[in-house]
Structure formats: structure tokens, C-alpha cells
Amino acid sequence: MSLHNVKLIFGRELRDQLRDRRTLFMIAVLPLLFYPLLGFTFFQIAQFLQDEPSKILIVGCVDIPGLPAFNKEYVDQHLGEKKRRSRFELDYQPLISGPDQKLTSPYSKEQMQRMVKDGKYQAVLSFSPHFAEKVEEYRVALRARASGTWPNGKPMPQIPEPEIICDSHQEKSAVTGVRTGNVLESWTEDVGRKTLAETNVPANAAKPIEIRHEFLGAADEQRFDSSLWSKVLPFVLLIWAVTGAFYPAVDLCAGEKERGTLETLLSSPAHRSEIVFGKLLTVMLFSVVTAVLNLVSMGITGSVVMKSLGDLPQAANVGPPPLASLGWLILMLLPVSALFSAICLALAAFARSTKEGQYYLMPVILVTMPLILLPMAPSAELNLGNSLVPVSGIVLLMRSMMEGTIGRLWPYAIPVSVVTFVCCWAAIRWAIDQFSSESVLFREGERWDLTNWFAHLLRDRQPTPSVAMAVLCGAVILVIRFFVGFMFTLPSTFNEFFQQSLITQIAVVATPALIMAVMLTLSPARTLLLSMPMNRRSFASLLVAAALAIALHPAVMSMEVVISWLYPVSAEVKMIGERVVHVINDAPNAFMAVLAIAILPAFCEELAFRGFILSGFRHMGRKWRAIGLSALLFGFSHGILQQSIMASLIGCVLGFIAIQAGSLWPGVVFHLVHNCLGYVVGFKYNGDLSTTQYGWLQIVLKDNVRVYHPAVVMITLATAVIFLLWFRQLSYRRTSEESLQEAIEQEAPIHSLAR
């Protein structure tokens, strides 16, 4: 790749974008106008809202001699601050005299409910007709009790409960109801205090303990500001980074395709990677500039708005964020921008037209949003586990920077950077592949028709499945597994466990792959790598695979401990795990247990993941990409996160073996031996070999966790590497795409290849 060409392409694309008025408007002008307009609208709406006060009807207003009056003044005083109070309007309806000269409420309960439902009042506070009498009775009784004249054992009189009616379906009504309740509560407290004073009990007897809050952040101004900023700023920055990357990306790829200039560029000597990097830098620049401009504009508008709301006590504390943390924020924006830009670029390269490109924005936002929002949860803090989650790790790092906890959490910046870098690299590779793929660049609009498509699938079958079929097979397995999982309950007997395992392996995993292999390929046996071991080499590979599984076992067990340390298992999953171990140890004999957890998975999962799916992915032309993707799908098909990670790693080894040996059977043997060892050590002995003659192989960590001695792990791992090297030296059968890719990488003339 020549830096000269990248610079050249970057310069051209940048100039091109700067000459485009629409892009400039979206990137530079819109953010500068957007927030002031938003602020303006906010004020308008705020005024509009103030014009509509909430109405409260108080029925049977209470005025009890000797107690604080529950009247308009009282309610006004306790409804909240000055500004808020003017938004409430109070109506009073005193009790009326009934036909028998008794006081009674002017409305029935139904009438009051109707008034709230119809929106005539937002809340109705109703006191029962005998409220005042009953309160008085209670106070008399209390005084009598205090002076010892109250008959022993006689119950104290009950006070009828006042009632607040509000409509929870209407937000305004619900809020008014809560506010009215608050006023009533403070009145009750006042009444209580007064009554206590009358009976010579100190007023604080009802509430002897006062709570005093001390907010550390209040003293340290930077941290107090940050509680708001640390959530708002990363969110705004990242959302705008995506949006800012998206529009230029669509214009630079789909737009060029539409205008016909892409082919001009592709026929120039610039490498695809140079084109991608040139365009990527442009998109990234726009992404960063958009995000920063939005930040600045929002900051300016925000501080003006806050100043004008200055008389609110909450607003007074929200000052501008400190400049140093803003600097860090922008620095961390760079890698995220690069990641978003590469993803947008690859997607935009896939789009046939700018119109199609725009459709892809929503899915990108939908996938990004949870990654940005989840770390905003108050309980989320940077740890090794979540620092390995792309985007989320960066958001958490930004947050800790703003909250001032970075001094403690800085070591996690390393995994965050590594993960972000790897994701960036993968996304860029993907974009380059999109630019090298002629089916993407010269995709033509074809009328899609289900019948034609089915006919095409059956008629134009190839010996092995296509990449799309492999993806489909993986998706089908994952979806069926998801739904079948809901049908299962936690097994209580071994029989139940065995049935579930049988259904999962045969119906969910193996059957889709087998059906698809028979229906969609010309050579199911070649697809599923079913050639029988016939020669010495293939028998040897079976033995080496078994030896490899044994050699990897200590490393696998150690890895499991590391994973459960990185991503601690939840109590619920732990409980399920213990139950499963218990159920399996209840198996009528060891063979049945091995059948369920080793033999069935070894055959069924290998057929699906190393058979159909890997064969399909190999048409991408890159062996390791095919292995990685099939391993990822294999990992996903294990429901629990910790299991998925381990399965993905093992999947890579299995995929490698399957390709090198050109046969499914060594993988089956490896899988079988691996699961058997897992069963014996993990289930039978629960990871603890101290009761056996192999106890000396293990050491004890804290919490009584036993792992293999590091020396054992190292020695066996070294042996495993030798076995892997043995597989590596086998000459394997390449797909035509793989041969082509190798020739391109070596720049060898094509006629030197047997195509």
C-alpha cells in the first residue's frame, strides 16, 4: 500500500465533499443551527406547558380547631417551589347537609372518578364527612391515654382515610396525584407533631432519627458536574460520530457507483486497500468533525439555557464540563470514529444506490444504540469483562474519565484499546473485501421472485454449499435452538436430560445441516467431509486428533477458570450448572452419560459446523476466515456466554483439523475425547482430582478452585502445538477461491494454477 496514493485519494475525496453543499450543510451548518433551534423550541414549549395548570378538587375541606388548616394557603405552600406552584389550580367543595341534617359529600365516588377521567380535574382529594369528628375523637382518646384515664384494652378510634383519585393513564393526572399526596403527607406530619406536643411527648418522638446526606462530589466540583456530563457527552458524541460517518460514506461509495466514477477509479492503478483507506480517512474526518461541532454547539446552547434557568436550584450546579476531560473525550473519539467509518464504508459499498445506502442507517443505529446505552446504566463500571465489549468499553472509559475515576481504572484502557483496534482492523478488512468483490461493485437490480429463487437453488446446485447457504444454515440452527430452549424445563432426572440432549443435537443441530446438504448441494458427502479413513495418513490423523484433545485438556480447563474470572457466572446459571452436574451423575451408567454429552455432540455438531457450514464459508477464499466464522457460529449455538467463548476457541481448533485432514472424522474424535475428558474431570470429579491418583497435577487457587499446575499446562500445550504442526504440514485440498486468493497474494500468473 502506498501512502502517496492514500493521501492523494483522501485529498480528492475531501475536496469533493467540501464542494458538495448538501454534505457541508449536514455536517457543519446543521449542528450549529440545531441546538439553538432546539433551545428556542424548548422555551416555546415550556411556555405552552405553563399555560395549562393542573386542577385539583378538594372535597370536604378540613378546618379542625387547634390543628393546621388544610386550606389553599397550606396546599400552595407545600406544593413545591414558587415556579411550580403557579401550575396548580385548587377548587374547594365543602360538605353539604343531607336530608337527615347530616353532613355529606356533595359528589358520589363515581362522579368524582368521572371528573378525573373526563379531564375536568387532574386529581380529586376527598375527605370523608366524619373526618374532623374522628380526628377530634382520636386526639381526645390520646390525651386520655396520656393521663391514664383511658380504659385498659379499649381500642383507639380509627381515623377514616382521605382518598386521592387520579388517572394513571394520563401522565399529568398521575403527577398531580403524587404531588397532592405529598402535601397531604406533610399535613399529616404536622398534625402528628401537634398531637404529640399536646400529650407532652417531644415533637421529634415520631421521627427520632434525622438523616444527613453528604455528597462527596459536591465538595469536588468536577465530579458533581460530571454525573450529568459523563452520561450525556459520550452518547451525543458517539451518535453523531455514526451519523457523521454515514452520509459521506454513502456518497463516497454508493454515490460514486451511481454516478459511474467508481469504475474509473477501479481501473486506475490504486490498490483497493489504498482506495478504502483514502475514503476511510475522509469519512472519519467528517465523523469526528460532526461529533465535535455538535458537542461545541450543544455546549454553547446548553450553557445559555442553563444560565436562564439559573434560579432553579438543580440547574445552578450544572456548569460546563472541564476542558481537560473534553480533550480526552475527543481523543477517544478517534478510534470509535474509525470503527464506525469502516463499518459505514463497507455497508455503503454494498449499496447499489444512495437510496439503498440510506436504508442501512437505521440498522447501524439500532445495533450501536444498545452498545452506547448499556454502559450508561448507573451500575455499569469498567472491568475486564465489559472492557472487552466493543464500543461499550470506550463509552465506559469516557465515563470514568469524566467521573474522575480514571486514576483507579486506567489499566482497563489497554484491553479497550486492543479490542477497539481489532474491531477497526476487521471492519477495514471487510470494507476492502467489499471493494474487491465484483458481485458487490457490479450488483444489478434483478427482480426477485420466490419461485425463481427456489428453482435456482435446486437447479444451480454446486458440489458444496455457498457462503450464503452456510450463513442460512447457521441462522436456522440458532433460531430453532432459541425457540426449543423455551420449551425445555430444567431437567430433574437423567432421562429428561437425555431426551433434551437428543432433541437438541439431532433435531436442532444435525437435521438442518443434513437436509440442506442433501437438498442444496450436488455432493453431500464432499460437503460434510464424510470420506472414510482409508489410508495410513487418515488413520494417523484420527490418532493425532485424539492425542491433541488430551494435550489441550489442561489448557482448556485453565481457560475455563480464566473465563469465569473475567465474566463471573450469575447465581442462576451456577444453579442450573449444579443441577445438570447432579442429573448427569445420576445416569444409570457411564455409557449413557457419555452418549448424551460426548458422542451425540461429537457427531451432530461436527456434521453441522465443520461439515456444512465450514464447507460453505470456504468459498470466501480465506481459510482462517472460514474457520473463525464457523467457530463463532459454533460458539453462539451454546447458550451460556462463558460456554460460548470456550466453544468458539475450540471451534477454531476443530475447523483447522477438519480442513487440514480433509475429513470430518478427526474432528469427531477430537470432540469426543475432549467432551469425555470434560465429563470425567468436570462432572464426575467436579474439577477436583485430589481424591484420585492424579491429584498432584493440580494446584488450589482461592475459593478452593482447582486448576492444573502451570507447568503441566505449559508442557501439554507445547505438545499440543507439535500435534497442530503435524496437521499443518498435511497438504489439504483448496477450494478454487482459496487457490485464487493464494495466487493473488503471491502475484503468481494464473496459468500456473490448476483451476
Binding site: 459511474g260 444451480d460 494464473i750 496459468h751
Partner: protein
């Protein structure tokens, strides 16, 4: 210069199954020669030229340009060629001068060579009056001139012109053909695809007549006239194409 052997390109097509764009295409073109690919629309000319210019990959067969393989050494091949096609447009928001300069730089020309060559080219193709005009405002003829200038700025030994006169008026088309003839005199190997017989008669040293992705006849124009006993090239072309129409459009192929 250019050697094409058994070049084949298939596309997957939902309705018709595998669509054969070109089938077993073979030809050679030497330096100082204009080789014409003649054929009706959809004959596979553009596909063949896109493969030679490394924009598409063949399904089978080989093609080399100056001994560089188009599949495995695309970058070297692109240094050897200038490619002008109906689908290679000019940038809307770039002036003629900037566009040619940009491609010259991409080809790695040092500034001194680049600017003297640009001045000469702009003079020869009469492009000076619109050198600062943005692509979006140019006429079809102006755009085509910019495309030619862009394709030959690095002085490539091979020039691939795919229906280069489409949409041009008589004057511009004639000027373009004169330029092509001049380039042949300079020893360039030129592949020229067209469906206009008069252009082929005027320019091409040898031609291949293509239909449904296959070559029906190849040779010098005089050769073909004698072989089919038909003095008029257009009639000869029509005769060959009509005879071929009776054959099925797709060739059933064994699956590999």
C-alpha cells in the same frame, strides 16, 4: 501485448440459471495494432474488456497484458492500460484539469513530467477552453475528451476503448477516431469495441465478431470479406449474427 485464452465469464441468474456472458474467448493483439471487438448489444464486449482492465474477474481462462496476469497481478496490469468505457464517468465536482492531474498522480508520474504532458494533451485534444469547468457542467463530448486524456496521461502501451463514441456528435466522434489512429501510429496496442461498422472499417486492423459471448469470426476486415464473399461489412455482420440467432442463447455447461 495482449493474449486472451479461453476467457469465460458466467453470472448467476435467478431465472435462466447460469448466464454465459463470454464463452471461451481467445484473441491476441499486438503493439501498433487496433483490434476491434464487434458485436450487438449484450454480445459480451464490455464484459471482456472489463476483465482485461481487471475490473471483473473471469470464471475461467486467462488474459495477460504485457505478460502480467489480469487476475493475479491486477495492479501491474492497470499500470499498462488506459481504460475508457461508457461506464467510466468523470467526477461532477472536479474540473477537467484536476481530474487529469489526479489520475496522473495516481499513476505515479513525477510533477515535471505530469504537467508538461498535461499541457501537451490539453492542447492536442483541444481541452484548454474548459480546463477549469466542473465535470457536472460539461457536455458529453467534453466529458469524453477528459476521459481519453485521463486514460492516456501515463502514456500506457495498451489502450482499451469500449464504445467510446457513444453519444458523441459526428465532429467529436471523428476527432476521437483521429486521435485513436494517431495513438496507433505511436505504437500503442488498442482494443476498440463498437457496434458501428463504419468505425471498425476506418480504424481496425483486425476484428473479432462476437455474439452471445462467443467469437463468430476473426481476422482482418479484408480477410472476412473474402471468406464470406460479402464486400459490405455491415451485411456480413448481419449475416453472421442472423445465422447464430438460430442457436440457443445459452450454452449448457458441465458444472464444475
Amino acid at each position: 501485448m495482449i493474449h486472451v485464452r479461453n476467457l469465460t465469464k458466467h453470472y448467476a441468474d435467478l431465472k435462466r440459471g447460469r448466464l454465459v456472458a463470454i464463452h471461451e474467448l481467445s484473441f491476441d493483439a499486438a503493439a501498433g495494432e487496433i483490434f476491434g471487438l464487434l458485436g450487438p448489444n449484450g454480445a459480451g464486449k464490455t464484459t471482456a474488456l472489463r476483465i482485461i482492465s481487471t475490473v471483473l474477474r473471469p470464471t475461467g481462462g486467462t488474459a495477460t497484458v504485457n505478460d502480467f496476469d489480469v487476475v493475479t497481478q491486477p495492479s501491474q496490469v492497470r499500470h499498462q492500460i488506459g481504460f475508457v468505457s461508457a461506464s467510466t464517468a468523470v467526477y461532477d465536482r472536479m474540473s477537467a484539469w484536476e481530474m487529469v492531474e489526479y489520475f496522473g498522480r495516481l499513476y505515479g508520474l513525477p510533477d515535471s513530467v505530469l504537467y508538461s504532458r498535461m499541457e501537451a494533451l490539453f492542447e492536442r485534444l483541444q481541452m484548454n477552453e474548459f480546463r477549469d469547468m466542473l465535470g457536472g457542467k460539461m457536455s458529453t463530448g467534453m466529458k469524453q475528451k477528459v476521459s481519453i486524456a485521463r486514460a492516456i496521461i501515463h502514456d500506457p502501451p495498451v489502450l482499451i476503448l469500449d464504445e467510446a463514441t457513444t453519444g458523441l456528435d459526428v465532429l467529436v466522434a471523428r476527432a476521437l477516431m483521429n486521435t485513436v489512429a494517431e495513438l496507433r501510429e505511436q505504437g500503442k496496442c488498442i482494443i476498440y469495441s463498437t457496434h458501428i461498422m463504419r468505425e471498425a472499417e476506418r480504424l481496425c486492423d483486425r476484428v473479432a465478431i462476437m455474439h452471445h459471448g462467443r467469437v463468430l469470426a476473426t481476422g482482418t476486415i479484408d480477410d472476412l470479406r473474402q471468406r464470406y464473399d460479402e464486400p459490405d461489412l455491415e451485411d456480413l455482420f448481419f449475416q453472421l449474427i442472423s445465422a447464430d440467432r438460430k442457436l440457443p442463447p445459452t450454452i449448457p455447461l458441465p458444472t464444475t
